[in-house]
Symmetry: C2
Subunit: 125 residues, 2 copies
Protein backbone atom coordinates (compact mmCIF):
# COMPACT_ATOMS: atom_id res chain seq x y z
CA UNK A 1 0.00 0.00 0.00
CA UNK A 2 1.64 3.18 -1.09
CA UNK A 3 -0.91 5.80 -1.90
CA UNK A 4 -4.42 6.23 -0.62
CA UNK A 5 -7.31 7.99 -2.21
CA UNK A 6 -9.00 10.54 0.01
CA UNK A 7 -11.77 13.04 -0.40
CA UNK A 8 -9.24 15.77 0.36
CA UNK A 9 -6.94 14.82 -2.48
CA UNK A 10 -9.86 14.61 -4.88
CA UNK A 11 -11.27 17.92 -3.74
CA UNK A 12 -7.93 19.66 -4.18
CA UNK A 13 -7.34 18.28 -7.65
CA UNK A 14 -10.89 19.15 -8.61
CA UNK A 15 -10.48 22.67 -7.25
CA UNK A 16 -7.32 23.09 -9.27
CA UNK A 17 -9.11 21.89 -12.35
CA UNK A 18 -11.66 24.62 -11.85
CA UNK A 19 -9.02 27.27 -11.43
CA UNK A 20 -7.24 27.86 -14.68
CA UNK A 21 -4.83 30.40 -13.33
CA UNK A 22 -2.06 30.07 -10.82
CA UNK A 23 -3.31 30.12 -7.27
CA UNK A 24 -1.63 30.13 -3.89
CA UNK A 25 -2.16 27.51 -1.20
CA UNK A 26 -3.84 30.12 0.98
CA UNK A 27 -6.19 31.22 -1.77
CA UNK A 28 -7.03 27.68 -2.76
CA UNK A 29 -7.79 26.90 0.86
CA UNK A 30 -10.07 29.92 1.03
CA UNK A 31 -11.71 28.96 -2.28
CA UNK A 32 -12.47 25.48 -0.97
CA UNK A 33 -13.88 26.95 2.20
CA UNK A 34 -16.15 29.24 0.21
CA UNK A 35 -17.35 26.26 -1.76
CA UNK A 36 -18.34 24.40 1.35
CA UNK A 37 -15.33 22.11 1.44
CA UNK A 38 -13.34 22.33 4.60
CA UNK A 39 -9.85 20.93 4.33
CA UNK A 40 -7.02 21.66 6.71
CA UNK A 41 -4.58 24.25 5.47
CA UNK A 42 -1.68 21.90 6.14
CA UNK A 43 -3.28 19.32 3.89
CA UNK A 44 -3.68 21.84 1.10
CA UNK A 45 0.00 22.64 1.33
CA UNK A 46 0.88 18.98 1.45
CA UNK A 47 -1.12 18.04 -1.61
CA UNK A 48 -0.02 21.02 -3.60
CA UNK A 49 3.60 20.18 -2.90
CA UNK A 50 2.95 16.55 -3.71
CA UNK A 51 1.43 17.49 -7.05
CA UNK A 52 4.34 19.76 -7.83
CA UNK A 53 6.85 17.08 -6.84
CA UNK A 54 5.04 14.58 -9.02
CA UNK A 55 5.27 16.99 -11.91
CA UNK A 56 1.49 17.28 -12.14
CA UNK A 57 1.46 20.92 -11.16
CA UNK A 58 3.57 23.82 -12.24
CA UNK A 59 4.64 26.40 -9.73
CA UNK A 60 5.87 29.91 -9.98
CA UNK A 61 6.84 32.35 -7.31
CA UNK A 62 5.20 35.73 -7.31
CA UNK A 63 5.30 38.36 -4.67
CA UNK A 64 6.76 36.23 -1.93
CA UNK A 65 4.47 33.29 -2.29
CA UNK A 66 4.32 30.14 -4.32
CA UNK A 67 1.54 29.67 -6.82
CA UNK A 68 0.34 26.39 -8.26
CA UNK A 69 -1.47 25.28 -11.36
CA UNK A 70 -2.24 21.92 -12.86
CA UNK A 71 -0.39 21.13 -16.03
CA UNK A 72 -0.06 18.26 -18.40
CA UNK A 73 2.50 15.62 -17.47
CA UNK A 74 4.86 16.57 -20.25
CA UNK A 75 7.26 18.33 -17.95
CA UNK A 76 7.14 21.88 -16.75
CA UNK A 77 6.23 24.96 -18.66
CA UNK A 78 7.13 28.59 -18.96
CA UNK A 79 4.75 31.41 -18.51
CA UNK A 80 3.66 34.84 -19.43
CA UNK A 81 2.08 36.24 -16.31
CA UNK A 82 -0.03 39.37 -16.00
CA UNK A 83 1.24 41.28 -13.01
CA UNK A 84 -2.12 42.89 -12.42
CA UNK A 85 -4.74 40.16 -12.76
CA UNK A 86 -2.57 37.06 -12.58
CA UNK A 87 -3.73 35.73 -15.93
CA UNK A 88 -1.26 33.25 -17.31
CA UNK A 89 -0.36 31.95 -20.72
CA UNK A 90 2.05 29.17 -21.46
CA UNK A 91 4.87 30.07 -23.76
CA UNK A 92 7.43 28.24 -25.79
CA UNK A 93 10.43 27.26 -23.66
CA UNK A 94 13.93 28.21 -24.70
CA UNK A 95 15.38 25.27 -26.55
CA UNK A 96 16.94 22.63 -24.35
CA UNK A 97 20.00 22.61 -26.52
CA UNK A 98 20.48 26.31 -26.00
CA UNK A 99 20.36 25.81 -22.25
CA UNK A 100 22.68 22.84 -22.36
CA UNK A 101 25.08 24.69 -24.60
CA UNK A 102 25.33 27.55 -22.15
CA UNK A 103 25.77 25.26 -19.18
CA UNK A 104 28.37 23.16 -20.97
CA UNK A 105 30.34 26.26 -21.79
CA UNK A 106 30.85 26.77 -18.08
CA UNK A 107 31.16 23.11 -17.13
CA UNK A 108 27.81 23.07 -15.37
CA UNK A 109 25.17 20.40 -15.52
CA UNK A 110 21.55 21.42 -16.00
CA UNK A 111 19.19 20.27 -13.29
CA UNK A 112 16.40 22.74 -13.72
CA UNK A 113 15.62 26.17 -14.96
CA UNK A 114 12.99 28.84 -14.69
CA UNK A 115 11.73 31.37 -17.16
CA UNK A 116 8.88 33.69 -16.43
CA UNK A 117 7.89 36.78 -18.32
CA UNK A 118 5.87 39.40 -16.49
CA UNK A 119 3.79 42.12 -18.05
CA UNK A 120 0.24 43.29 -18.60
CA UNK A 121 -2.33 41.20 -20.40
CA UNK A 122 -4.54 42.66 -23.14
CA UNK A 123 -7.35 43.41 -20.67
CA UNK A 124 -5.13 45.17 -18.17
CA UNK A 125 -2.88 47.20 -20.41
Amino acid sequence: MVQRQTRQKDAIREALRENDEFISAQDLHRWLEEHGTHIGLATVYRQLNALADAGLADTIRLDGQQLFRLCGDDGHHHHLVCVRCGRTVEIEPPSESWLRGIADAHGFTVESHTLEVFGLCPDCR
Copy 2:
Protein backbone atom coordinates in the same frame (compact mmCIF):
# COMPACT_ATOMS: atom_id res chain seq x y z
CA MET B 1 18.66 66.52 1.34
CA VAL B 2 17.67 63.22 -0.12
CA GLN B 3 20.28 60.62 0.59
CA ARG B 4 22.78 60.42 3.41
CA GLN B 5 26.03 58.58 3.55
CA THR B 6 26.44 56.29 6.52
CA ARG B 7 29.02 53.80 7.69
CA GLN B 8 26.36 51.11 7.44
CA LYS B 9 25.67 51.72 3.78
CA ASP B 10 29.36 51.75 3.02
CA ALA B 11 29.98 48.60 4.99
CA ILE B 12 27.18 46.76 3.22
CA ARG B 13 28.32 47.78 -0.24
CA GLU B 14 31.89 46.91 0.65
CA ALA B 15 30.79 43.52 1.99
CA LEU B 16 28.91 42.84 -1.22
CA ARG B 17 31.98 43.77 -3.22
CA GLU B 18 33.94 41.15 -1.31
CA ASN B 19 31.32 38.51 -1.91
CA ASP B 20 31.26 37.55 -5.55
CA GLU B 21 28.43 35.11 -5.22
CA PHE B 22 24.80 35.63 -4.35
CA ILE B 23 24.27 35.95 -0.64
CA SER B 24 21.20 36.23 1.54
CA ALA B 25 20.49 39.11 3.88
CA GLN B 26 20.88 36.77 6.83
CA ASP B 27 24.22 35.46 5.63
CA LEU B 28 25.51 38.91 4.82
CA HIS B 29 24.52 40.05 8.28
CA ARG B 30 26.40 37.10 9.77
CA TRP B 31 29.40 37.78 7.54
CA LEU B 32 29.56 41.39 8.69
CA GLU B 33 29.29 40.26 12.30
CA GLU B 34 32.17 37.83 11.83
CA HIS B 35 34.23 40.62 10.37
CA GLY B 36 33.70 42.82 13.39
CA THR B 37 31.09 45.04 11.83
CA HIS B 38 27.85 45.08 13.72
CA ILE B 39 24.92 46.37 11.72
CA GLY B 40 21.28 45.80 12.55
CA LEU B 41 19.62 43.04 10.59
CA ALA B 42 16.82 45.39 9.60
CA THR B 43 19.33 47.77 8.11
CA VAL B 44 20.93 45.01 6.10
CA TYR B 45 17.55 44.14 4.65
CA ARG B 46 16.79 47.78 3.99
CA GLN B 47 20.02 48.47 2.15
CA LEU B 48 19.89 45.28 0.16
CA ASN B 49 16.39 46.10 -1.01
CA ALA B 50 17.42 49.67 -1.75
CA LEU B 51 20.31 48.44 -3.90
CA ALA B 52 18.04 46.05 -5.72
CA ASP B 53 15.43 48.75 -6.28
CA ALA B 54 18.10 51.06 -7.60
CA GLY B 55 19.20 48.39 -10.03
CA LEU B 56 22.62 48.16 -8.43
CA ALA B 57 22.11 44.64 -7.20
CA ASP B 58 20.69 41.58 -8.86
CA THR B 59 18.51 39.24 -6.90
CA ILE B 60 17.42 35.69 -7.33
CA ARG B 61 15.23 33.52 -5.19
CA LEU B 62 16.60 30.19 -4.10
CA ASP B 63 15.20 27.82 -1.56
CA GLY B 64 12.71 30.19 -0.04
CA GLN B 65 15.02 33.11 0.41
CA GLN B 66 16.17 36.03 -1.61
CA LEU B 67 19.80 36.32 -2.57
CA PHE B 68 21.61 39.49 -3.61
CA ARG B 69 24.68 40.34 -5.59
CA LEU B 70 26.15 43.55 -6.88
CA CYS B 71 26.01 43.95 -10.61
CA GLY B 72 26.93 46.54 -13.15
CA ASP B 73 24.32 49.16 -13.87
CA ASP B 74 23.59 47.82 -17.33
CA GLY B 75 20.35 46.25 -16.30
CA HIS B 76 19.77 42.85 -14.81
CA HIS B 77 21.40 39.60 -15.68
CA HIS B 78 20.66 35.95 -15.98
CA HIS B 79 22.46 33.28 -14.11
CA LEU B 80 23.74 29.79 -13.99
CA VAL B 81 23.60 28.83 -10.34
CA CYS B 82 25.22 25.84 -8.65
CA VAL B 83 22.61 24.29 -6.41
CA ARG B 84 25.25 22.87 -4.12
CA CYS B 85 27.79 25.60 -3.51
CA GLY B 86 25.90 28.63 -4.78
CA ARG B 87 28.57 29.56 -7.32
CA THR B 88 27.13 31.77 -10.01
CA VAL B 89 27.99 32.63 -13.57
CA GLU B 90 26.29 35.21 -15.68
CA ILE B 91 24.85 33.94 -18.91
CA GLU B 92 23.65 35.42 -22.11
CA PRO B 93 20.04 36.57 -21.83
CA PRO B 94 17.43 35.37 -24.28
CA SER B 95 17.13 38.00 -26.97
CA GLU B 96 14.79 40.84 -26.16
CA SER B 97 13.16 40.47 -29.53
CA TRP B 98 12.34 36.85 -28.79
CA LEU B 99 10.68 37.86 -25.53
CA ARG B 100 8.79 40.69 -27.12
CA GLY B 101 7.69 38.49 -29.98
CA ILE B 102 6.21 35.96 -27.59
CA ALA B 103 4.49 38.61 -25.51
CA ASP B 104 3.12 40.36 -28.58
CA ALA B 105 1.68 37.11 -29.83
CA HIS B 106 -0.55 37.06 -26.77
CA GLY B 107 -1.15 40.79 -26.55
CA PHE B 108 0.96 41.17 -23.44
CA THR B 109 3.44 43.90 -22.65
CA VAL B 110 6.81 42.94 -21.21
CA GLU B 111 7.62 44.51 -17.89
CA SER B 112 10.21 42.12 -16.62
CA HIS B 113 11.37 38.57 -16.90
CA THR B 114 13.48 36.06 -15.08
CA LEU B 115 15.67 33.26 -16.30
CA GLU B 116 17.75 31.14 -14.01
CA VAL B 117 19.43 27.87 -14.77
CA PHE B 118 20.25 25.57 -11.90
CA GLY B 119 22.73 22.74 -11.92
CA LEU B 120 26.08 21.61 -10.56
CA CYS B 121 29.25 23.54 -11.16
CA PRO B 122 32.44 21.79 -12.31
CA ASP B 123 33.73 21.44 -8.75
CA CYS B 124 30.52 19.96 -7.39
CA ARG B 125 29.51 17.61 -10.14
